[in-house]
């Protein structure tokens, strides 16, 4: 058990070292959080991010709200990607984990079922996540 923990800490250290690189990386791995609730949001977020010149690969998770991307730092930066996501109406979290809110206009452009700021709609989607039956 101790060993495992140790290995993990090593791995984690490896990750943090990576993200501190200042060199312009051709295949930089970036992760930040984007607010959204469903598969439709996923499509909207991923498309917006991928259409940014220099972004090669995008993956947004409905459950964790984590956006993973691989991008060419020589061609783009995280800010431009985030701008594009904000433009389609999804809030993002910047490097200090501070929420950057999309304009009301942009937010209003998302499909009614994707109003991720609305508690009720969030609850609606919870049902999709799992159906439990107790035996």
């Amino acid at each position: 058990m101790k060993k495992i923990v140790f290995i993990f800490s090593l791995l984690l250290i490896g990750f943090s070292v990576q993200s501190q690189e200042v060199k312009k990386n051709k295949n930089a791995k970036i992760t930040f959080e984007v607010d959204g609730i469903c598969g439709m949001c996923k499509k909207r977020i991923e498309t917006a991010a991928l259409k940014t010149q220099g972004v090669k690969f995008v993956l947004w998770s409905v459950e964790t709200h984590q956006l993973n991307l691989i991008m060419d730092e020589r061609k783009t930066d995280v800010l431009s990607v985030q701008q594009n996501i904000l433009a389609v109406g999804h809030d993002v979290f910047d490097a200090d984990d501070k929420k950057v809110v999309a304009t009301t206009e942009a937010y209003n452009s998302v499909h009614p079922c994707c109003k991720y700021r609305d508690e009720e709609i969030i609850l609606d989607h919870k049902g999709d996540l799992k159906k439990q039956k107790k035996q």
Binding site: I4, V5, F8, N27, K29, G39, K43, E46, T47, L50, V55, K56, F57, V58, L59, S61, V62, E63, T64, Q66, N68, I70, D128, L129, K130, K131, Q132, K133, K134, Q135
Partner: protein
């Protein structure tokens, strides 16, 4: 008792466009389901690997993912250790239970047994193992009994072999692959599908129309790929026993073993035996051959998730023996004599293959794959006084690189392939030897705008010692005109050398004389077959009475530029000649899937085929090919109990329209057949009782309504005379056959 979690996003298309490398989930405490409090510091790892992760403050973890990983183990001090089945990349939310608490939470939802993916560019659908359990499915050929797009029929009156057709063309025009390595081709064309036991099949992908250039230039009407069970994910032990009232016994066993963190191995053994003689139609000929087969496969699977390596090594050996003919035929005494007519077909086949895949760990969208396969197929057979032996050695190799251009909306695959085939045939006293080799390069570009439009365009150039140097283009387009609909179109070209004897083996079990119109071509004096295939397909999902369904219209045309015409139109001969004029196969299909209630599905299809060829006699419809077919399938399951126990019911109905029969008008009256066969209906059904997750029993009936062709063998009373012919078979011969079987597995 293990917990299970199945994906429940049936609304969302369970198809992932991106290859994903991490799997995420959240671990929560069952005591606080309301607050969704995550458990910090729980450890998760993939079963039998050392790939693991620890949950963060919020209870979230993310762990490297490979498709081979199916089971995730969750550990947390003071809580029960759970092993969760991970069917897809969907993130999970899992509640841990305190050690003291023994109540279970089980999460289930119904996965569809077949689904038509919404997002694939090609007109492709997947048949998974649930669907394959709906019928006896003794072998790959029978796996399509419940599938509307593929027609299964008997190839002749003697060998009991099932053949398949798609778009109205026999399987010789399909590219059939096993895990993307071409398999049922050349010498194994006639019986090859029966050489893969049904239990070995994990899933089947069926593509209508032109296939991908990645797998070669031979595919004309479509592609069928069978994925076999894999040592890593298959049950530790599996046993299937089967017995049919037509005298067939089967035994399948799988043993899978983890050898180390990275190596898994599996041994799969299949045996079937039929020792009873049946002659229900009293024509003095066996309705089904006496047969025995032993089929053994050993697979090794290597996975190194950290470094991105995956590999498979397969070795397989098969020995198949069939004896058919007259009831009293004794091979030892009567072989080569005219006192009784009989036939023996002995096949031995050895196959080995290696697959090596490397996914760049930092670039989930980039990989390199290498495939190499060798097979040696030896068939020794005689049919009455006709002798037919064939040996076919084959080498296949393919090296492929996949990556993106700019971003994942633009993907490409490129590579080179090499094939070598050596044929050695003996037809009575004539030897036919031929060597084929080819070297090719391919490039396939796939574009997807992530919304309503995608296409795949591929081309390959091959240089072949007998077919020459030629280009094979293929194109698939997908467009979404409005919500819940898809329009697909495809076109492509295919080229192949026709193995006239291997593909039409039933001709030997007749008195027909073989004629080949030699035009100095490279293959039996004939030229290669070339065809273009075009097609459009439209699918619309709908809601009817609040229940989901979909309707699909398919129209495909195959236009032969050259074809080796197989001409049965003179009853005393079979002739092969190059097409002069037109040969066009049109097929139209409407298919409706409807989910009547949860666990209650209905599928129906109407198919129309118009397949005409310019024979020497003029333009005729293809013989023994119904113009109209109707298909319906109903399946119902009761809700599974906690231990997995449930009932499953399945019924398949086929209506086969009238079929044109080859001309027999010049025969004596008693050996004449009408111009057309009458239409008939067939009903198959199966009931499965699942007792637990380990054990189930099934009982079924094929051809419930007992349809039988009256005299499947012409001149069966005079098998050595001029009119003997067992090739004109248009309906079942045996009649009703009940079967019973069991499946037992240890996960």
């Amino acid at each position: 008792m293990k917990k299970k979690i199945l994906s429940s996003f049936l609304l969302l298309i369970p198809f992932v466009i991106f290859s994903q490398t991490t799997f995420k989930g959240m671990i929560m405490d069952k005591n606080n389901p309301k607050d969704n409090l995550g458990v910090e510091g729980a450890s998760v790892h993939w079963l039998h690997t050392n790939v693991s992760a620890i949950t963060n403050k919020k209870g979230w973890f993310s762990i490297p993912y490979k498709e081979e990983y199916k089971k995730l183990v969750v550990n947390y001090l003071g809580y029960k250790t759970d092993t969760i089945s991970i069917p897809s990349l969907k993130a999970i939310h899992h509640f841990l239970t305190e050690q003291s608490e023994l109540k279970e939470v089980i999460v289930t939802a119904k996965k569809k047994a077949t689904y038509k993916p919404f997002l694939t560019t090609a007109n492709m659908f997947t048949v998974n193992s649930d669907e394959l359990l709906k019928a006896a499915c003794c072998n790959l050929a029978e796996s399509f009994e419940t599938n509307p797009s593929i027609d299964v029929s008997f190839s002749d009156a003697l060998t009991g072999t099932k053949q398949i057709q798609m778009l109205g063309l026999t399987s010789r025009y399909l590219l059939i692959t096993e895990e993307n390595i071409p398999s049922v081709r050349g010498a194994s064309q006639a019986f090859g599908l029966t050489f893969t036991p049904g239990t070995w099949v994990e899933s089947i992908q069926i593509t209508k129309g032109a296939g991908s250039v990645v797998n070669g230039y031979e595919s004309i009407s479509g592609q069928i790929n069978a994925e076999l069970v894999k040592p890593f994910s298959d049950n530790k032990f599996f046993l299937n026993a089967y017995s049919s009232l037509d005298g067939r016994l089967e035994l399948n066993t799988h043993f899978n073993q983890r050898v180390s963190d990275k190596w898994h191995t599996g041994v799969y053994i299949h045996g079937n035996y039929r020792g009873e003689k049946f002659d229900k139609n009293n024509d003095n000929f066996l309705d089904n051959p006496l047969a025995n087969q032993i089929n053994v496969m050993n697979r090794w699977q290597y996975i190194d998730a950290e470094k991105g390596w995956v590999s498979f090594i397969n070795v397989r050996f098969l020995n198949d023996e069939k004896q058919t003919g007259e009831l009293g035929f004794n091979p030892k005494l009567d072989k080569g004599k005219t006192n009784a007519w009989g036939s023996e077909i002995d096949t031995q086949r050895f196959e080995t293959s290696l697959k090596l895949g490397y996914v760049f760990p930092e670039l989930p969208y980039q990989n390199i794959g290498l495939q190499m396969a060798y097979s040696n197929h030896q068939q020794d057979s005689y049919f009455g006084l006709n002798v037919y032996d064939i040996q076919h050695q084959s080498v296949y190799s393919n090296l492929m690189f996949s990556s993106i251009i700019g971003d994942t909306r633009n993907k490409f695959k490129t590579g080179i392939s090499f094939t070598y085939d050596k044929y050695d045939e003996l037809v009575n006293i004539n030897n036919f030897d031929r060597k084929e080799n080819s070297l090719g390069a391919f490039f396939e570009y796939a574009y997807d705008n992530l919304d309503n439009f995608s296409f795949t365009a591929g081309a390959r150039i091959d240089t072949h010692n007998l077919l020459g140097t030629f280009v094979t283009p293929r194109l698939h387009v997908r467009y979404v005109p409005w919500t819940n609909s898809v329009v697909r179109a495809s076109f492509g070209r295919g080229k192949r050398s026709a193995n006239i004897f291997a593909e039409n083996q039933q001709l030997f079990a007749s008195s027909r004389q073989i004629k080949i119109d030699n035009v100095d071509g490279n293959i039996y004096g004939l030229n290669p077959e070339i065809a273009w295939n075009y097609g459009v397909s439209y699918m619309q999902k709908f809601n009817f009475f609040d229940k989901k369904g979909d309707i699909t219209f398919d129209f495909y045309q195959t236009d032969f530029k050259n074809q080796v015409v197989v001409d049965w139109e003179r009853p005393q001969e079979i002739s092969f000649y190059d097409l002069k004029g037109k040969s066009i196969a049109n097929s139209f299909q409407v298919e409706i899937n409807y989910n009547i209630a949860p666990f209650f599905n209905f599928r129906t299809a109407y198919k129309y085929f118009d397949i005409s060829t310019d024979y020497k006699k003029g333009n005729l419809q293809k013989p023994i090919q119904p113009k109209n077919r109707f298909f319906a399938n109903l399946s119902f399951e009761t809700l599974a109990e906690e231990n997995g126990s449930q009932w499953k019911f399945d019924v398949t109905f086929n209506s086969i329209g009238k079929q044109r029969l080859p001309f027999t008008g010049s025969n004596p009256v008693e050996y004449q057949l009408p111009g057309y066969s009458s239409s008939y209906q067939i009903l198959n059904s199966q009931i499965t009782k699942v007792f637990s997750n380990q054990f189930e029993v099934y009982v079924g009936a094929e051809n419930l309504t007992n349809v039988q062709q009256k005299n499947p063998i012409l001149a069966s009373d005079d098998p050595f005379g001029d009119y003997f012919d067992s090739t004109i078979v248009y309906s079942p011969i045996f009649g009703r056959a009940m079967y019973v079987g069991l499946r037992y597995k240890i996960k």
